[in-house]
Symmetry: C2
Subunit: 110 residues, 2 copies
């Protein structure tokens, strides 16, 4: 199965996804990728931020499953790492949040 596009993630995963989205930089990155795949250095130039900074944000987005990466060789032999937005659909309401919260694992109980 693996529906491919998260829609009913368990609590921990939901937190991870939301945390990944809750950042201006990452929102812009995602927006840029929504327009098509781009490789890291190019993306950094497009957004006007350093590569190091971009990498950190890309990793967080990737870990959350919001973007995917493919290493490719350009015609002239350069190794380019392309990123693209993963298709996803999340519907948040008090109810869906409550459902997800019920599956949270984090440390508790005495």
């Amino acid at each position: 199965m693996s529906h491919g596009a998260l829609s009913e993630p368990d609590g921990d995963r939901l937190v991870e996804v939301l945390a990944a989205l809750a950042s201006p930089h990452r929102l812009r990155v995602l927006a840029a990728l929504a327009g098509g795949r781009v490789y890291v250095s190019q993306l950094a130039r497009d957004l006007g931020i350093s590569r190091a900074l971009l990498q950190v944000h890309l990793k967080k987005l990737e870990k959350a499953g919001l973007v995917t990466a493919h290493l490719e060789l350009s015609e002239d032999g350069k190794a380019l790492k392309f990123y693209e937005a993963a298709p996803f659909s999340l519907h948040l309401t008090p109810g869906s949040v409550a459902v997800a919260a019920a599956t949270l694992s984090t440390t508790e109980r005495t």
Copy 2:
């Protein structure tokens, strides 16, 4: 207008809402409130966390517009602050994110 339930928030607001949701504690708080209004001290006991901690999280949720508060006097004169979940509906997809990102205000451009 003010549709009451955010659905197409501008970028900055979206980040605020997502940040408010991206936390196990706050997800649980929201879940607890989804079941009905509760006053602060009671909620803290229900969740097993300190009042001070709960207050911080409630404030963040309130600022994001995900919960609302009403101060009320109980029959026996005690002042109780009830919180309840605000109705909201957020649909997130690469596309909706891109749209929101376009309205981000944060510091940029040379």
